[in-house]
């Protein structure tokens, strides 16, 4: 029956991961991680990109040549409005005389915070929902899966906007709103994975040995779905970054912080896309690169977990 067969969800990756082979060993060691990325050029590029972003995010205030929020003036006190790139301002300035490069560098922080926190929260909720639903089955499963179905009926971005407007525009509220919807894809995939794992002999054995449900669930089943959790974690980072940028672009973002989405919002409302490309391209490209990096990393995990996708010799 289709509704049950379909674990298809938020994104293409969900469907692909149905075939997830449960290759998991109890503990994913660093060595195993290195093994995963060996020979995966695209995955390595993803890791490198992400490492660069992490570096920039950590040291942004040191790297930024100017205060991102400061209205810069020339020596005679004029505001430097929309100046084209120069040696002094590598990426030019905004309409209010702010340094674009500094804004992009500082904006990396918001993207990384939203990406990691949003992904963590949604994967945390989704994993637990999936574990409980798949493990206990019966009416627990029915209720949780109906709930997931219902969340699937909620249009994502409009929901986030309404929630942010109601709760107030702060970074934490944006993250919360993202997580409240985003968990749905993780939940479905984890659940279907748990359904197969719980039939395995060693799980039966653990239960027969008198392990409590909570123990069996979190010490025996969870480690087996961890690679899938990582996979969804990686993709969730990408989705969260896009979502935050979108909310900010619409003007509903945190008014106090500098983010890429907000830079594009100001640039767009200032009609700069006609005149000041240097103000528009850098934040947009940064979004692209950050999201691509996590997608490439996720894709590598997926290839490992799904032999069907591996290239044949």
């Amino acid at each position: 029956m289709s509704t049950q067969n379909r674990t298809s969800t938020e994104d293409e990756y969900d469907i692909l991961s149905q075939h997830y082979g449960g290759r998991s060993r109890l503990r994913q060691t660093l060595a195993a991680q290195r093994e995963i990325f060996r020979g995966e050029r695209l995955g390595q590029i993803g890791l490198l990109l992400l490492a660069i972003f992490l570096f920039v995010g950590l040291f942004a205030p040191l790297l930024a040549p100017y205060d991102a929020q400061e209205k810069l003036r020339t020596d005679d006190g004029e505001i430097k409005r929309m100046e084209a790139p120069s040696t002094e301002h590598l990426l030019g300035t905004t309409r209010l005389g702010r340094d674009v490069l500094s804004q992009v560098l500082i904006g990396t922080r918001i993207a990384l915070i939203v990406g990691s926190l949003g992904a963590f929260m949604s994967v945390f909720i989704g994993t637990n929902m999936g574990l409980i639903s798949g493990y206990f089955g019966g009416w627990t499963d029915d209720i949780l899966m109906r709930l997931t179905d219902i969340i699937y009926g909620v249009p994502f971005l409009p929901f986030v906007i309404v929630l942010v407007v109601i709760l107030g525009p702060s970074l934490l509220n944006v993250i919360l709103a993202i997580a409240l919807v985003q968990w749905r894809s993780t939940a479905r995939v984890i659940r279907s994975q748990v359904l197969t794992i719980k039939e395995r002999p060693y799980i039966e054995a653990a239960r027969a040995a008198g392990g409590s449900d909570v123990r069996v669930l979190y010490t025996h089943i969870l480690p087996n779905v961890l690679p899938l959790v990582f996979l969804y974690g990686a993709f969730s980072v990408g989705w969260a970054v896009i979502a935050e940028a979108s909310v900010s672009f619409l003007g509903f973002g945190d008014p106090l912080s500098v983010s890429w989405g907000k830079m594009l919002f100001t640039a767009y409302t200032a009609n700069a896309i006609r005149t000041a490309w240097w103000w528009v391209i850098p934040p947009g490209l940064s979004i692209n690169l950050l999201v691509i990096s996590v997608f490439l990393i996720g894709r590598t995990y997926e290839k490992v977990s799904n032999p069907e996708l591996r290239e044949r010799e």
Binding site: D11, I150, P158, I161, S246, L250, L264, E308, L309
Partner: protein, 325 residues
């Protein structure tokens, strides 16, 4: 189980989902911190007038009565009066609804055309450099939020090449008579081209990648080898058999793509000044025009839920195995 039972069960689920959605909507807009009445009563009214409005709207009733009343109102298509326009919301939103739907359908159709052909080609090109280039292009498209894609397209096609207008749904002074005329005209196509392409670029990744992976599985099936042995042309095997079989999963995710489209749509409408539901919602929220915002939200959710439902039925129809199991 039979097709009939399947449909009945699915309708039951639809009703539950719909009810839950309405409830979420109610909760979102009424049980919020602060005084919920401020969301439904225009600002700047005198105490007396304000009280009257509250009574008219039933906001002084207990919550459960309001809830029941709200469900009935919404089901009748009554969303109250817009604060901003001082008109019934339904009238305002209907035109915008169709503007949104036409743009979205166009974008999704285009995305599916690109996705099905592209995904089939990617599967065919497996292991070659072309495949990697294609996959990267898909990932780039998927990693660009619609507003960003839209901005890039505007920079290239509007400001640089000057091929298309920057936004809007029709040229100044252009007039139309009736519904059909509005959406079937050169002027409309001229305006819809860029927003449609923007949407298609964003939505196409899902069908492309799914198509590719399903195709790879299908191409390994025994019957493909048999069709080859039967001496059918490569073209026939690829498009009539492999693609046709790969379409089944793709059909079921139309709803998911549409669900994502509704969100992406909102950004496209803002970037291209498209007078649709999404933009109406953003404007309404900014003006605290909650009745309009709620109606727009309700309609967007309805589209997602109904499409989900339709996709399931379509799937059952397409794959004769589904209902027989």
């Amino acid at each position: 189980m039979g097709m009939k039972e399947f449909v009945v069960r699915r309708i039951g689920q639809l009703a539950v989902t719909y009810w839950a959605f309405l409830t979420i909507l109610f909760l979102l807009f009424r049980i919020v911190p602060g005084d919920p009445t401020t969301m439904f009563v225009a600002q700047g009214l005198s105490g007396e007038a304000r009280k009257e409005v509250i009574e008219n709207l039933g906001l002084n009733e207990p919550l459960h009565i309001q809830y029941v009343d709200y469900i009935f109102q919404v089901l009748q298509g009554n969303f109250g009066t817009s604060f901003q326009y001082r008109e019934p919301v339904a009238g305002i939103i209907v035109t915008k609804f169709w503007n949104t739907i036409f743009l979205m359908l166009g974008a999704i159709t285009l995305a599916y055309m690109i996705g099905i052909l592209g995904g089939a080609l990617l599967a065919w090109w497996r292991g070659t450099d072309r495949e990697i280039v294609g996959l990267l292009a898909t990932l780039v498209a998927r990693s660009s939020p619609t507003f960003w894609t839209g901005i890039v397209l505007i920079m290239v096609f509007v400001f640089w090449l000057k091929w298309f207008p920057a936004g809007g749904i029709r040229s100044v002074g252009a007039d139309y008579n009736g519904f059909v005329d509005k959406f079937v005209s050169v002027d409309f196509l001229y305006h819809v081209a860029l927003p449609m392409l923007t949407g298609a670029i964003y939505y196409m990744a899902t069908p492309t990648l799914l198509m590719r992976n399903t195709m790879l599985e299908i191409l390994n099936e025994d019957f493909i080898k048999m069709k080859k042995a039967e001496g059918l042309s490569q073209y026939t095997i690829l498009y009539k058999h492999a693609v046709r079989n790969s379409l089944l999963p793709i059909v079921t995710i139309i709803a998911l793509v549409a669900g994502k489209a509704i969100g992406g749509q909102l950004l496209i409408e803002v970037v291209f000044n498209w007078p649709g539901m999404g933009r109406a919602m953003v404007t309404a929220v900014s003006y605290n025009d909650y009745p309009v915002a709620m109606a727009a939200f309700f309609l967007m959710g309805s589209v997602v839920i109904l499409l989900n439902f339709a996709a399931d039925l379509l799937y059952a129809h397409f794959d004769p195995r589904v209902t027989y199991e």
